[in-house]
Symmetry: C2
Subunit: 365 residues, 2 copies
């Protein structure tokens, strides 16, 4: 019998280190004007990524991010054994077409804006379980393709309520691998020094050490312009379960960073956890609140979309870990499970969230 790698009610732990080998964050114009601009690899001022329509633009952006993360790891696509990818569009349109250009075995995943959590957990599990030495997780969203899919055509010029979030145009990709893959990447980097400089060369690593898989929770909220409220209960539940499964308190983490709850959702999330006896405010962050300046950029309640937490992780969050500002974070992508059909039929919007532990390893600062 193999080693047991599950803990408590819903959690998993990695008994060997799963290393972040490469990462890429590619965004559109608005994200490039926001407070995280310096953490992104590439900003496309046209939002089109040389595509011929919005869906095509998203596919190309996703494919670019996936390829760039592999290149930055010092690897080739052929060395990646599995690609876990997803997006917000029906039938994973952006990922399916983007993956078609990459010669990597493909596993499509969907958890709305929590998809980066799911894809990163599965990519890590594939490595941790010995099914691959090297895998990749990538997700994307595009403001224009998402508005078309879920709300109104851009040309209609509808007013957005203040509870609404702004779908991020961006794609974040992470290549993860085992110790052997890390050694290979390092040797490769040593050879091509300068091309992929950064903390990795200096012996500092970020590892994925565990996680908690969330359940679908439905609090009966039906307002698709208030997704923070739909997702907050799911995020609170998965964080509570995580802390109990591992017998930890919130302050065990330097930061607990939710996906895209936005202003309203983040408040509800902290309130629910407070009632359960967990004070998260001192360590709480939200990718949806980090990515835009809501006042200056008129984004109302914050950013959202599969790309939101993916680019924030691949850019800003990992930088903070590599640089030693934080040594351990809980990354909690959150998703609102609505479809245009379910929303128009008056169904409620269930939420889901997954939690992932990322830790810095290496010389202490």
């Amino acid at each position: 019998m193999g080693e047991q790698r599950y803990v408590g009610a819903q959690s998993i732990c990695f008994t060997e280190d799963i290393y972040v080998l490469g990462r890429a964050a590619i965004v559109g114009k608005k994200e490039g004007e926001g407070p995280l601009r310096s953490f992104f690899d590439e900003i496309d001022e046209t939002d089109m990524f040389e595509g011929k329509n919005w869906n095509d633009a998203e596919s190309r952006m996703m494919q670019k991010a996936a390829a760039l993360a592999i290149r930055k790891a010092g690897l080739t696509p052929k060395q990646i054994r599995m690609l876990f990818a997803g997006d917000l569009l029906g039938q994973l349109l952006a990922s399916s077409f983007g993956a078609g250009e990459l010669p990597i075995p493909f596993l499509g995943v969907y958890g709305a804006c929590s998809t980066m959590g799911e894809s990163l957990l599965l990519a890590s599990m594939a490595v941790g379980g010995g099914f691959a030495d090297c895998t990749e997780a990538v997700t994307s969203s595009h403001f224009a393709s998402a508005e078309k899919e879920f709300r109104f055509p851009l040309g209609y010029g509808n007013q957005r309520p203040l509870t609404a979030t702004w779908t991020v145009t961006g794609s974040g990709a992470l290549v993860v691998g085992n110790r052997a893959a890390l050694e290979r990447c390092r040797a490769q980097r040593e050879e091509e020094k300068g091309r992929c400089a950064g903390a990795l060369c200096a012996g500092v690593e970020v590892v994925i050490s565990g996680g908690t898989i969330g359940r679908v929770t439905d609090f009966g909220i039906k307002d698709k312009a208030n997704m923070g409220a739909c997702m907050a209960p799911a995020a609170a539940e998965v964080v509570e379960t995580h802390l109990k499964d591992f017998h930890r308190m919130p302050e065990y983490y330097d930061k607990i960073i939710t996906g895209d709850l936005g202003e309203i959702g983040a408040k509800i999330f902290a309130d629910i956890l407070g009632q359960k006896g967990f004070q998260v405010e001192p360590v709480q962050e939200d990718c949806g609140l980090l990515i835009y300046d809501n006042e200056l950029q008129d984004t109302h309640s914050g950013g959202s979309g599969c790309g939101c937490c993916a680019v924030t992780l691949a850019g800003y969050l990992l930088d903070k870990l590599y640089e030693g500002e934080w040594s351990r974070i809980l990354f909690v992508p959150t998703g609102a499970l609505l479809s245009p059909v379910s929303a128009n039929e008056g169904s409620s919007i269930p939420g889901i969230a997954h939690a992932i532990v990322l830790e810095r390893k290496g010389e202490e600062k």
Copy 2:
């Protein structure tokens, strides 16, 4: 470092047995009139499953199948650590809402009609990697919800070309687990003898022993009424890769069973593999051709949909393995990655397929 469980270019192998612990196949009226009727657990003559619309019907069907497979395994939902589920609808509508009623950590997956391949591989990997003792894979499709999503409203009464397949109304679920979970199920079954009778009680087991993860392949076909042709190249590629990765010939398997290529796709699949030096005809079957009597039931090229190969596996294929008619099969669910948007924009339809090895273990017949 953990045990290496990957083989060749795209394959994985399970170094410990992953057991099928429970299974359920629930279908609609047309499937209940077909040649496999006696292999299904439940047939709903109304196709509505007490739902209030087609999407809701599919959600309820999926939820019923998931719950029944757990019950037949002698387990409770709380004992399942992860649920891998998917369907054809935008944003996995059926699975998301169905999973909301089950207290199981949820991971949504999408690979069009190949989804049962993906969910079963991931469910098995989670167990094989030590991340769970017990997981479940379930997929669904519904003729009426799929026609609405992809083609024409039923009331429009359009004519279907002879290349078209008929989306199966059905949901298939498999509970898989490790040796310890099997022992628990057996003890439970021993206690409640009679309730879950069958081959499992007699010491015969079916195990999942390996698989090959497919890549997205695009041969430029644009006809959404000829999905067999879109998927056949992907199926041929994954089977060829599988046979090469494991150094096997087609006759190593009693049957190589594709998902839902239908009449035209199955022919193309065999032709491509023949050109590569692999004669599959003697062992070839296709779930899309098994599930209906195409002449009597007017289903043209055969059955399709996420539910097609799922119910055929959970019902017919596993029965043949438990009964000893076959001792080893390669199950190859196939998917056509189209969305209503991509199809209407004139994009091609890429295909994908995954291969899974299922083997009988126990006293020889």
